[in-house]
């Protein structure tokens, strides 16, 4: 019944005993989300999120064949200074108990997080997704990008850890040899699951009503041409990450240099020892005791490889986002050209 309390910044995974008994063999192939969940996530970020802070919450739903249906969600409070007396697990338990009373699905199927320009590949995310997937096999993390959404279209992605990465996390073997054995590259850390949005008939009726009654006009942000602001910020973040990466590489290089230097020293030492022993033998003196070489030459600490992997994954993500953005903008520029062509 031990609940895994992760770092304070993420919702805790459910206790193993409360997870539903249906752990499927096949992983999840598709996610089906109800409109209500989308609206709730949008509202949560809009009202409670500021700047680079992320907002998080829990997803509720059920598993049907190879689909994961997400039918409801509830937000998690932000972490403010008076954190001390706030019990996350209790909040979660109470919320789920109350929701059960009003017949809302109370099976924990994952969690959601907002992101700032696509920067979500971090140790914290990895850890909490691992604990979720460990407890409930089909869980996913939904990444909602509010800035991209505000530019015109809903940006929602669902990720799971690949089985290879799950193995590694289970063993807690983050050294270079472990990762090499598992052949994990930064592209094999997360797998994206396609999302489908489905609404019940009643909600569809509601949508018709809203369309009729509401006087809010569509602002067509998607066709907006200005791009430099967004590009600047994304590139800034990319540059920071690349700096981190290069520092990491430098560290690794120094490590391998130290290692090879040490090998040489060891070699020299053993050789000298052998020579001396040979000399002593010829002189008839007892040979010097064999000393434990490994104790004398402590091997340098290999730098952790996991962080490098995460940074590489993050850089990859940034690059993907930037490329998507530029392709959209190129399309828009050609549209503008066509319009001008008609005029002139």
């Amino acid at each position: 019944m031990a609940s895994r309390k992760e770092s304070m910044s993420t919702p805790t995974a459910p206790m193993a005993s409360t997870s539903s008994g249906a752990t499927l063999d096949s992983p999840v192939k598709q996610i089906q989300i109800e409109g209500l969940v989308v609206l709730k996530m949008i509202k949560h970020y809009q009202e409670e999120g500021q700047g680079t802070e992320v907002v998080q919450g829990v997803l509720l739903g059920l598993v049907v064949e190879d689909r994961l249906e997400i039918t409801n969600c509830f937000p998690f409070p932000q972490h403010t200074e008076d954190d001390a007396d706030f019990d996350e697990v209790q909040y979660q338990m109470e919320m789920m108990r109350s929701l059960r009373h009003v017949n809302i699905d109370h099976l924990h199927v994952g969690w959601y997080q907002s992101t700032y320009y696509g920067s979500f590949v971090s140790r914290a995310l990895l850890d909490s997704q691992f604990s979720y997937q460990h407890a409930i096999e089909e869980s996913v993390v939904l990444i909602y990008d509010p800035i991209k959404t505000a530019q015109g279209s809903l940006s929602l992605k669902a990720y799971r850890l690949t089985p290879k990465l799950m193995e590694i996390c289970k063993e807690k073997d983050f050294s270079a040899e472990g990762l090499k054995k598992a052949m994990i590259g930064f592209e094999h850390m997360f797998e994206e699951v396609p999302i489908v949005i489905k609404n019940s008939h009643l909600i569809n009726v509601l949508m018709w009503e809203l369309e009729e009654k509401s006087t809010v006009a569509d602002k067509h942000e998607l066709l907006n041409l200005s791009s430099s602001n967004h590009l600047e910020k994304s590139l800034q973040l990319l540059m920071d990450r690349v700096d981190d990466m290069s520092q990491d590489i430098v560290k690794y290089n120094t490590y391998s240099r130290n290692l090879s230097k040490q090998q040489q020293q060891k070699h020299q030492y053993t050789q000298r020892r052998q020579q001396e022993n040979a000399q002593r033998q010829t002189r008839g003196e007892p040979p010097l005791p064999e000393e434990d070489i490994s104790k004398m030459f402590k091997p340098p600490q290999p730098p952790p490889r996991m962080d490098t992997l995460l940074i590489a994954g993050q850089i990859n993500n940034y690059c993907q986002n930037v490329k998507e953005f530029t392709s959209q903008n190129l399309g828009k520029l050609f549209l503008a050209e066509a319009l001008q062509g008609h005029n002139s």
Partner: protein, 280 residues
């Protein structure tokens, strides 16, 4: 002090509702207990001088029969506490009920909510679609009758408006498109397809406008001055830029974007290479 006569319709605050509230209500109605004909719940939001903004809600279990009504008030209080932890600015501003009429039980429930909030509003959402529409109405209670003798409560209607955050509007736009899909499911499109979709929508709108203009020109429809003004606005929105200036602007923008794409690809190749050398 209230006059001894019937109070005329009070022009109360304007009620502004976010779509997430209505979706939540519809969802709770679908999940109601067997035998229950309607669901009720608390409305959360913020109060302004002239308006009340409803931003959140949660359903409250209740039992209703011919002669009595029981509401789980403990539950309501607990849920409100939990919600306050996430959004400390939201307060109880009223309650909702699905269904068309206001029954006597509603009066009792409204009294309870009067204790929780100052002048609560009551929202009814007709999920049973009695008049082939989902009527959404808001009311506020007003005293009526002769004081000292028979006093009653009258629910006066309020104006209902729907407001959206920008991101909400985009989300709702996407949800509205699920109506057209055959199995009511719609995937999320990616980059260029989205631009294509948006362009198609603008194109459709232009076609409608063009059709209208044709009709006006051929005399079928009376020309309307205000529409004409909008049309001139529309046409003048495309900026008149000289060809060379536009060429240079276009080219520099395209160059920027291409350079960024190239750099992104380069970075990706770099990290892949690094990985091959170091790890694998």
């Amino acid at each position: 002090r209230s006059s001894p006569f019937l109070k005329m319709a009070v022009h109360g605050p304007v009620v502004k509702i976010h779509p997430v509230v209505l979706a939540s209500i519809a969802d709770s109605y679908e999940r109601r207990n067997e035998g229950a004909s309607r669901v009720i719940g608390t409305l959360l939001g913020t109060v302004d001088k002239h308006s009340v903004e409803v931003t959140n809600c949660f359903s409250v279990p209740h039992n209703e029969s011919e002669d009595e009504v029981a509401v789980d008030m403990e539950f309501a209080k607990n849920m409100y506490e939990l919600h306050k932890k996430v959004s400390p600015t939201e307060v109880i501003i009223g309650w909702y009920a699905t269904g068309f009429d206001i029954t006597e039980h509603s009066v009792l429930i409204h009294e309870y909510y009067s204790r929780e909030a100052v002048n609560p509003i009551h929202l009814t959402v007709d999920t049973a679609l009695q008049s082939n529409k989902m009527n959404i109405r808001a009311y506020i209670s007003a005293q009526m009758g002769v004081p000292g003798k028979t006093v009653g409560v009258m629910f006066t209607p309020l104006t209902v408006k729907y407001i959206y955050y920008d991101t909400e509007r985009i989300g709702v736009g996407l949800l509205q498109r699920t109506r057209d899909a055959p199995n009511r499911a719609k995937g999320l499109t990616s980059d260029l397809c989205q631009v294509g979709g948006a362009a198609t929508r603008v194109q459709d709108m232009l076609t409608t406008v063009l059709a209208y203009i044709e009709e006006v020109l051929s005399g079928k429809v009376q020309a309307d001055n205000s529409v004409g003004r909008f049309l001139t606005d529309l046409v003048s929105k495309v900026p008149k830029i000289s060809a060379e200036d536009f060429e240079s602007m276009l080219n520099s923008n395209i160059n920027d974007l291409l350079m960024v794409t190239y750099l992104a690809n380069l970075t990706q190749a770099q990290i892949a290479l690094n990985e091959k050398l170091v790890i694998l």
